[in-house]
């Protein structure tokens, strides 16, 4: 047996309950949305510009149009952004509620 404890609260803390906290999944999904440099830039761009057409986002990134479209899809699925069809173009904007939720979760760590 190992009874040595050289660091406080290290080996001698009470056992942890093996329970899954429910927000971990939601948290991970939101974090995952911005877990890629391109998506971080897209989010920042949309926050800074209020709204942005897909083509402008493509032009601002060194990626193919199809790749950007996929990143936009990921962001849309996370709820962080939403797209609105405007003729042949699609106008993307931030979803303030989800962004706020992400901030809450991170700050609440």
């Amino acid at each position: 047996m190992y009874t040595r404890a050289t660091r406080k609260n290290c080996s001698d803390s009470p056992a942890v309950a093996p329970k899954v906290d429910p927000t971990a999944e939601e948290f991970a999904k939101l974090a995952w949305a911005i877990a890629h440099p391109a998506r971080v830039q897209i989010v920042r761009m949309l926050i800074g510009r209020e709204a942005c057409v897909c083509g402008e986002i493509v032009a601002a990134l060194p990626l193919a149009q199809s790749t950007v479209s996929q990143h936009l899809k990921v962001l849309k699925e996370s709820g962080l952004i939403q797209g609105e069809v405007d003729g042949p173009k699609v106008c993307y904007c931030i979803n303030p509620d989800r962004l706020q939720r992400l901030k809450m979760l991170v700050v609440g760590l």
Copy 2:
């Protein structure tokens, strides 16, 4: 040509500079670290307990020991946590600086 603009700041905004902002990569890496439910739970556990032995983390999660070890490795590589060897055990704790950095980046969005 498409000149219709039904939404403000949508099609008629000035062009975006195709420049890569330098913190996007750092941001993405930190976000990636918590982009998995298990890692979110680990981080929360460490924040709430100050420090924690690997075995306790394994016990708290419904995952194999080797899998947890991999998640710990990811978190360590991101700098969010650090491990300290304590005999045969390893004691993990949060790196407050990196956590603060993550919070700053998210709040600064």
